[in-house]
Symmetry: C2
Subunit: 342 residues, 2 copies
Amino acid sequence: MKIAVDAMGGDFAPLEIVKGSIEAVKAFPHMEIVLVGDEAQIHKVLSEHGEADNPRISIHHASEVIEMNEHPGIALRKKKDASIVVATRLVREKQCQAVIAPGSTGAAVAAALFGLGRIKGIDRPTIATPIPTPEGVTVMLDSGANSNSKPKHLVQGAIMGYNYARLMFGKENPTVGLLNIGEESTKGNDVVLATYKLLEQLKTIPFKGNVEGRDIPKGTVDVVVCDGFVGNVVLKFAEGLVGVVTQLLKEGIKESGLFAKLGALLVYPVFKKLKKRLDHTENGGAPLLGVNGVFMICHGSSRSKEILTAIKIAGELVERKIIENIQHSIEEEGAITYDDVD
Amino acid sequence: MKIAVDAMGGDFAPLEIVKGSIEAVKAFPHMEIVLVGDEAQIHKVLSEHGEADNPRISIHHASEVIEMNEHPGIALRKKKDASIVVATRLVREKQCQAVIAPGSTGAAVAAALFGLGRIKGIDRPTIATPIPTPEGVTVMLDSGANSNSKPKHLVQGAIMGYNYARLMFGKENPTVGLLNIGEESTKGNDVVLATYKLLEQLKTIPFKGNVEGRDIPKGTVDVVVCDGFVGNVVLKFAEGLVGVVTQLLKEGIKESGLFAKLGALLVYPVFKKLKKRLDHTENGGAPLLGVNGVFMICHGSSRSKEILTAIKIAGELVERKIIENIQHSIEEEGAITYDDVD
C-alpha cells in the first residue's frame, strides 16, 4: 500500500509531516509513503533523520504550496503544481491509494473534489468525525465540509456515515439519527423537515428518526447526520467545553474546597484524555467521505503523531474498502426521490 | 410587583408550581403572585400548605390547559381560556408585570407573541440562555424560539442579547460575536454571511466579528448570536456532554485506576453543579426576549425550586427595565438596511 502525503501542508511542514511519515513506515511494514512537495526541503529532513535511503519512502516533487490563508478556489486555479494537488493526482492515477492532507481544510476539500471526483450518487463530500461516548463513539457528519447542506446531501451523508461506522467502529448494522431540535417528525427547520421524509425511504439503513444534541455524547444512535455548519459548531463547542473543564481541573478548580481540589488533580488525566479524543489533531484527522479515493483531512497544526495516526486510519479505510462499500450502498438504495425537496 | 404564574403548566402542575410560588412570596417580600388556572385545584394545594389566606397569593381562574403534546398554533386558537393565554393577558392588561410559563415551549412562545405582541422593531422573539464560562457567562441566543432565523432576526438578537447581558450579568458594554465556522468574514452559510454585514453596521453595540463553537464555553465574547436551530443543538449537546461526564464520574470512571476513581468521587459535586448551571430547569428557565412584557419560559419538568428561581429572575428583569432598554437600543440603532439580505 502506498500513501501520498502532502509534506508541505500545515504549520509544521515539512519537518513534522516527514517525521510522522518515517514513524509510519516503521510502525506499518506493509506501507510505503510518497512525500509530495519541495524535494530539497523534504530530502534535507529525511537526511537529518538518516532516512534518505529508506526504500519505502520516496519524494515526489511539487513546486508550489497552498497557504492556510489563501482562498481555496483561487489558489487551486492558480497553483497547478501545489503539493496537495499533486498528492491528489497520485491517487487519481492509481500510483497511491490514499492522500494525507494537513493544512487548509478548504483547499483540501477543493483539491479532493476536483482531483478525485465524487462517488457516483454523491453530490457533496462530507467530513465524518467520531465523538466519544461512554460505550464507544457516535459518528457525526457533516462536521464542516459543507455549510449549506441540502436534504439530499444529508441523506447521502447517512449512507456514507453508516458505512464508515460499520467498517471502522465494528458496528454490525449502525443506526442513523437526524440531528434536530425535538424528537417529533414535525420539528425543525425546512432542511431537516424535508430530510426526515427522505431518510424514511432508506431501505437498507436503519433510520431511527430525530435525535437531539444531547444524544450525540450519549450515543443514542451510531451515526448522527447534520448540516456541516451545525456539525462544525458542535465539534468546536465540544473541544472548547472539554478544554475549559480540563483547564479548570488543572487549576485545581477555582474557589473549590480542598477535597474538590484533590479530586481535580486526580481526575485531570482522564479529562486530558477526553480532550485528546475530541481534538481533531489528536485523532489524526477525519476522513473526507464521498470522493473517489481515501482522503484524510488533518488539522493545520498537525505534528508527527497526528500524521502517523492519519496514515494508520487511511490504511484501514483502504483495506476495508470504504469507497467500494459506499458505492455499493448507494446502488442498493437505488433512486431516492429528491425532486420536491431540493 | 405582581407576577402571573401559569399554575397548570408542565409535568408537575399544579402542585410544584404552587409550591414554588409560595416559596417566592416568602423569599421576596415585595412580590405578589397571581396563580392562573383551575381554581379548585389550585385552592386545594394552597389550603394543604396553609396558604389559602395569604394576601399576597391570589387565584385567577382559567378553565383550560394546553398540554405538552398539542400543536401550539392549533391549541391556542381552540383554547381561548387556556391558563397560559389568561396569564399572558394579565400582563397585557397591566394587571401583572411578568409571566412564568412552565410547560410547552412552543405554546408559550405562541401565547407570548399573540398575547403581548412584539417590541417595535423586533420581528421575532428569541430565547436567551446563559452558558457558564470560567469567568462568568456567555449569553447565547437564540437557543430555540426560531428554527429558521434570518439575518435580521440575528441582528435583533444581538441588540436584545446585549441588553440582557448588560442588565443581568453586570457587563458594562457587552461584546457581541456571531457564531460561525471560522473567524474570517468570508466564512459560513448564506445566513451568517449576510448577518455579518448587518452586524458591522451596528452603531452602539460592540460587534467583535465571528466566533466559533469553542468560544462559547471560553467566554471570548459576552453575547453569542446564532440561529435557534444551532443554539438549541449546542445547548442540548452541552447538557448531554456534561450529563455523560457526570454519570461517568458517578460510576467512578469505568476502567480507571484507583486514583482516578477517588478523584472522580471528590470532583463529582463540582460537575453536578456544572450540570445544574447548564440545565434549563435548574436555571429556572430562560427569558423570551422581544415580546412586549417579561416572559419566562420554564422547562416542562419544572419543580418548585425552578419556579422560585424563574420568579426571581422575572422580578429582576422587570426592575431593571429590560423591555424599555431593548426599545431604547432599537431606537438608538435606527433603521438598519435589511433589504438586500432578507
